[in-house]
């Protein structure tokens, strides 16, 4: 789900949980039995339809082209084994469909802060995504202009974010916001999957960042990525106890890449995977640039009462291995 401002009460879907084996990034999960497994597509390429509803400024073929570009961007990420195929136009609304994957515009005036949203049908035995639908809220002004259009949201940018959800990715917290009357405004972000969109007219979010790429390659790895990349694992603790919902950022000074992950439970454990080998700076921060329910379901008791901190050692990621375990100690605000 991508919001114009912070969504007040919305998650991607009712069953959107954080998968316990989340490496780099936050992946969507579904609870099966007593465990949670990652949502992902097993049948590739993903066949999708485009709803033939036009909106002012964007025709259905223009929407199809923007969506095709967005799928191509994800498919073109390095070390990723993905595929998508346009199956045709349909008169079915993405809000009503539950048999095929449909993307299109729909009127949702009740969601006056939501630009788009993704819903899934999941095999509750295997966790496989069977179909998914994305709607772009037609109450907002849209554009597919190559260079963007002032005052209008860029379809391709929002499609790129929602298709990230469709593929099984959750939200990234790599971004900074400020509180304003009526909600939060994003100051900057370094992930397409940050939950709050840039202002209308911007096309800066048509491009994947290192965090997005790490996430998608962790979910749909090709044959080489496990040999080429490594991971960082460890714990975030406060007064000796694990911290849930802490945002851990791995920064590679040599490349400038930022890839982040979360601690997912009260143990404070985290894993950041799909990292290029080399030395990393680790930084931990509380989840305070968006509402926790943009990232986790209610079962995660997010602790945001601590100060951001750096780990006082460089952490070296080996190829096809895991760094030594690190403990990031934080103190209360």
């Amino acid at each position: 789900m991508r919001s114009r401002l912070l969504p007040t009460a919305a998650v991607v879907a009712a069953f959107a949980l954080c998968a316990p084996d989340a490496g780099a990034y936050l992946k969507l999960g579904t609870r099966i039995g007593s465990g949670v497994i990652s949502l992902k597509w097993n049948a590739l390429p993903i066949r999708y339809f485009i709803s033939n509803q036009d909106v002012p400024g964007v025709t259905a073929p223009q929407l199809q082209q923007a969506v095709s570009n967005a799928f191509a961007t994800w498919n073109g990420a390095p070390d990723v084994n993905l595929g998508a195929e346009f199956a045709g136009f349909t008169g079915t609304s993405p809000l009503q469909n539950r048999s095929e994957t449909v993307l299109g515009f729909a009127d949702r005036p009740d969601l006056d802060r939501v630009l788009g949203s993704t819903s899934f049908t999941v095999d509750t035995v295997s966790g496989e995504i069977v179909e998914a639908d994305i709607f772009f809220n037609s109450i907002f002004p849209w554009s597919t202009a190559a260079g963007g259009e002032s005052g209008r949201y860029d379809v391709q940018s929002i499609a790129l974010h929602e298709i990230g959800h469709l593929l099984g990715l959750g939200h990234s917290a790599l971004g900074e916001t400020e509180l304003r009357a009526g909600g939060r405004r994003v100051l900057a972000s370094e992930a397409v999957m940050f939950p709050i969109a840039f202002s209308p007219g911007s096309i800066d979010q048509r491009t994947l960042h290192a965090d997005d790429i790490a996430g998608i390659s962790d979910l749909y790895p090709n044959d080489t990525i496990r040999r080429r990349t490594g991971s960082i694992s460890g714990r975030v603790t406060k007064n000796g106890s694990g911290v849930a919902g802490a945002h851990v950022i791995a920064y590679a000074p040599a490349t400038g890449k930022l890839v982040a992950g979360f601690t997912l439970d009260d143990s404070g454990s985290f894993v950041i995977a799909s990292l290029d080998p080399g030395p990393y700076v680790l930084r931990v921060e509380p989840l305070d640039d968006a509402e926790p329910d943009s990232f986790f379901d209610a079962s995660v008791h997010v602790d945001a009462d601590f100060r951001p901190a750096f780990y006082p050692q460089l952490v070296v990621v080996p190829a096809s291995g895991t760094s030594r375990s690190v403990e990031l100690k934080v103190v209360g605000k």
Binding site: E176, A188, S199, Y251, P253, V281, Y311, P312, V316, S323
Partner: protein, 226 residues
């Protein structure tokens, strides 16, 4: 009166030195085929490892420049190490030498200016550097004190903390030094060795390891000539 006293003493010293020179020359070391082994302690200068910033793409309506999350300034600290050399003289002046060196420089990154106020921190790791290479040394003079110049290349193997990652690279060096040979028999001779060299290496332990880094290394130790 003083000048008269000094003059004979100076003359004696010069005569003695000439005698030692003659004696050393007669010892016939080094000669083509002579071998030299040495062990030295090394000190390598620190160097700036480069600066970088962790940035995020700004919302264009807020700023046209990236938001800096924090800054990172890296440095490789001076390091001591050890080295061993074994050489063979091609002529009385020219020696070809193989060498192995080990040092453990510390790479440090100073983290400052955090956007959300994280306390400034220095993050460090200890590297292990192995240099395996060769040099050509050209010696001047024939006395106990023999200046020399050298140049060569090495294979560099860099292990990160805990040997978690390994990088291989190359090192080129040039410099000079002196050897002082003590007295000895016809079969061997002991001496001291001092040298300084400038080294250019990739896999430089800097933040941007694609660039070659230049350092200076001073060495001091013992040598034995066979």
């Amino acid at each position: 009166m003083i000048a008269r006293r000094v003059l004979p003493l100076l003359a004696v010293f010069i005569w003695s030195s000439s005698a030692a020179q003659a004696q050393y020359t007669r010892a016939e070391l080094p000669r083509p085929g002579s071998m030299e082994m040495g062990a030295t302690a090394t000190w390598t200068t620190g160097r700036n490892g480069g600066s970088a910033s962790a940035t995020e793409t700004s919302n264009p309506t807020v700023s046209s420049t990236p938001l800096t999350l924090f800054k990172a300034d890296s440095r490789v600290k001076p390091a001591v190490g050890v080295a061993g050399q074994i050489g063979v003289y091609v002529s009385r002046a020219l020696e070809v030498e193989g060498a192995v060196a080990l040092s453990r420089p510390v790479r440090s990154v100073r983290l400052t200016g955090d956007f959300e106020g994280a306390v400034d921190t220095t993050a460090e790791e200890t590297l292990t550097h192995y240099l395996i290479g060769g040099s050509a040394l050209y010696h001047f003079g024939r006395g106990r004190l023999r200046p020399f110049v050298l140049g060569g290349a090495s294979y560099l193997r860099q292990l990160d903390d805990g040997a978690a990652a390994v990088q291989n690279g190359t090192e080129l060096h040039a410099g000079g030094g002196i050897k002082y040979w003590f007295g000895g028999g016809r079969r061997h001779r002991a001496g001291l060795r001092l040298d300084a060299k400038v080294s250019s290496r990739d896999r430089s332990a800097a933040l941007d390891s694609t660039k070659r880094a230049t350092t200076a290394t001073m060495s001091a130790g013992f040598a034995v000539l066979f």
